[in-house]
């Protein structure tokens, strides 16, 4: 019997699409019957989507070049 605890232990690989076939079928069978785990997997997928799409830590394009130039100035000093 595949429990909610089993589901929580195994669904990481399922999310990444690399669960073993036998585990995958157990998870899918469990999801057909467990409303709570349906919510967890659905909201976790949405979390990943939000995080992946967000630009929370993105460096503005205009800020890239000054960093590149500063690094290269320091690198050229090191090489000399």
């Amino acid at each position: 019997m595949f429990s909610c605890a089993d589901f929580l232990a195994e669904f990481g690989d399922y999310l990444d699409g690399c669960a073993k076939p036998e585990i995958k079928s157990c998870i899918e069978e469990h999801l057909r019957e467990c409303k709570t785990c349906q919510v967890i997997i659905d909201s976790t997928c949405k979390t990943i989507r939000i995080v992946t799409d967000s630009e929370s830590f993105t460096l503005a394009a205009a800020d890239v070049e000054p960093i590149v130039q500063d690094v290269m100035t320091r690198v050229r000093k090191v090489r000399r």
Partner: protein
């Protein structure tokens, strides 16, 4: 003139070993004349007895180990032992290689095919060894003790050649890894370990030797247990381990375990990585220091001289790669080490190669979680080597050309790498530090470190993964200075998290808030995560590295990395849930 001198030296080694060969040949039932072509295969110089230094304990231990391995005559015949030694010797020495090839060809008619195949694979492709290789030997009539004897004999060959490569080097015989483009690279297979059965309980006589290893390491390594099919061998090996790792006359234990760890990593030995990583932990080195040492980056607390030790030790790797360098004692002399230090370095490295080989051959299961775990993809070491495995293991690195140009001295090529990866490095550091200004400075520092150490980038991973690991270590160093840090490298406590928010989410959460609000919400939620989950989630979901590359960049095992990514995602889900769950009437907005 130089060739004549080398020839003379070669003959000297051959004759000096003749007395060791006679008993073996006798045991194998061959006349001295028949053994003549084989005798040269044993031209592995007894290095320690030839050094001018007074090293009685090490010499005695080397002698005892050699005797114990050769004493397995009841398990293997003399010609079989020679075949096994030749398999290791041919990896290192051009003459041995030339002599060994016909020897392996001859083995086909002598019922030694299985042993020849096994020894060649173990000697050249140790990390690829699997249970099926031992099964082949069993099918050919070798029992568990004989398999241990065979593995140990190949290991002895590597031990002696490593010593020769380190201590003779350019001034003596050309002991360096040999190329053979005709050798097919085996396919890597994961099989249950260990590859041999558990030996019977140790006898009383062996118990005292096991007590010695317990006193030295605090436990009896699995590798030693597995070999107790041959008690004499275990005793000799423990004798050598004590002689090498016990005293601190020249190198300290910390220095020895560090150089052994670095060489184990160069050999892709998870077993020895775990053992030396744990020993370093016990004697006071932090996991962060250990990992940074492996990455050649950010090791503020390790002396330059000690880094030189590790760097030279790694050159004695048994795995052949493009651009293998030779061990150079002069570099250690310049770093302030005496001849006695250099000999200890060589012996420690040779012993590491010996143990790595045994670990590969017997499939020893690590006693601890390795500080870094090598996977199948790590085994295909050179971009020039063909890889007869699935494409997913192929290591295509889009930065390869630019890295090569920088290594060749073209500083301007580095600009391309900086421009390509500034965004990734900044994201990683901003996510770790939580402050964009600090992240900007740390991004520059990361690239400076990368530039300074690019010659040490071993191309086992993609450049971007290596760069990310340096960025992570740079961020962690800053955090450590700022406040006491929960280690991101400890692997405990990953399980047991239970989600509490179990209400359904709206269909399109991205549309609930303005983009800038969502960004701010995610940033705050990510920065509230404990560091170890945050780092894993940052690399996997924000930088979109593969799980394997995330593990590599963090220096964690794959299972630990997966556990952290999942835990990070679930914790983040809890933080975001109040903003995106459905209201009583259905959609939130």
């Amino acid at each position: 003139m130089q060739n004549t001198a080398k020839r003379h030296e070669f003959e000297l080694y051959t004759s000096s070993l003749q007395h060791r060969m006679d008993p073996i040949v006798a045991a194998g039932g061959e006349s001295a004349e028949q053994s003549q072509p084989h005798s040269r295969l044993l031209a592995l110089p007894p290095i320690l007895s030839r050094t001018a230094l007074d090293l009685p304990a090490l010499r005695a231990a080397e002698e005892a180990l050699t005797r114990a391995v050769f004493d397995c005559a009841g398990l293997l015949t003399g010609p079989q032992q020679l075949l096994l030694l030749a398999a290791a010797g041919r990896q290192w020495h051009a003459d041995i290689r030339d002599i060994a090839i016909p020897c392996f060809e001859d083995s086909h008619g002598c019922g030694q095919d299985a042993l020849a195949q096994f020894s060649l694979k173990l000697a050249r492709y140790g990390p690829w060894c699997c249970r099926a290789d031992c099964d082949e030997l069993r099918a050919a009539g070798f029992n568990e003790s004989a398999i241990v004897a065979a593995v140990t004999t190949v290991a002895l060959g590597h031990f002696r050649c490593s010593l020769a490569a380190a201590l003779l080097g350019r001034d003596g015989l050309p002991f360096e890894l040999q190329s053979d483009p005709t050798e097919p690279i085996p396919q890597w297979r994961e099989t249950p370990a260990p590859f041999i059965s558990t030996p019977p309980p140790p006898t009383e006589a062996l118990d005292s030797a096991l007590d010695q290893i317990r006193a030295l390491f605090g436990f009896v390594p699995n590798l030693i247990h597995l070999q107790s099919w041959i008690p004499n061998l275990v005793r000799a090996e423990i004798h050598l381990l004590e002689a090498v790792f016990g005293p601190e006359d020249c190198l300290s234990q910390m220095q020895k375990h560090r150089l052994a760890l670095c060489l184990a990593a160069a050999n892709c030995s998870n077993y020895l990585m775990a053992l030396h990583g744990e020993m370093l932990n016990l004697i006071g080195s932090t996991p962060e220091e250990t990992l940074a040492l492996l990455d050649d980056a950010g090791v503020v607390s390790v002396l330059e001289a000690d880094k030189a030790l590790c760097s030279e030790a790694k050159k004695l790797t048994m795995l052949r790669r493009t651009g293998n360098e030779q061990f150079d004692p002069k570099l250690l002399t310049e770093a302030g080490f005496s001849p006695a230090h250099i000999v200890e370095t060589a012996v420690t490295a040779a012993l590491t190669n010996f143990l790595c080989t045994i670990g590969f051959g017997l499939g020893a299961v690590p006693d601890f979680v390795p500080v870094r775990t090598f996977h199948a993809k790590d085994l295909y070491l050179s971009a020039d080597e063909s890889r007869p495995t699935q494409n997913e293991f192929r290591l295509e690195d889009p930065d390869r050309e630019f890295v090569a140009r920088v290594r060749a001295g073209e500083t301007d090529a580095f600009e391309h790498l900086v421009r390509s990866h500034t965004g990734r490095v900044f994201r990683t550091l901003y996510g770790i530090l939580g402050n964009p200004e600090e992240a900007r400075d740390a991004t520059q520092d990361t690239f400076l470190k990368v530039f300074e150490h690019i010659d040490k980038f071993e191309r086992r991973s993609k450049f971007s993964t290596w760069l990310t690991s340096i960025a992570v270590n740079t961020g962690i160093e800053i955090l450590r200075r700022r406040r006491p840090l929960e280690s991101i490298h400890s692997e405990d406590g990953e399980l047991g998290f239970r989600p509490r928010q179990v209400r359904s989410w709206v269909d399109n959460p991205e549309q609930v808030l303005e983009k800038s609000q969502t960004n701010s919400l995610v940033r705050k939620a990510v920065l509230r995560l404990p560091e170890k989950y945050r780092a894993a989630l940052l690399l996997r979901d924000i930088n979109q590295l593969s799980t394997e590359d995330t593990a590599e960049a963090l220096g964690l095992s794959l299972p630990a990395t997966k556990a952290r990514i999942l835990r990070g995602r679930l914790m983040l889900r809890e933080s975001l849930a109040p903003h995106f769950t459905r209201t009583e009437g259905g959609q939130r907005v």
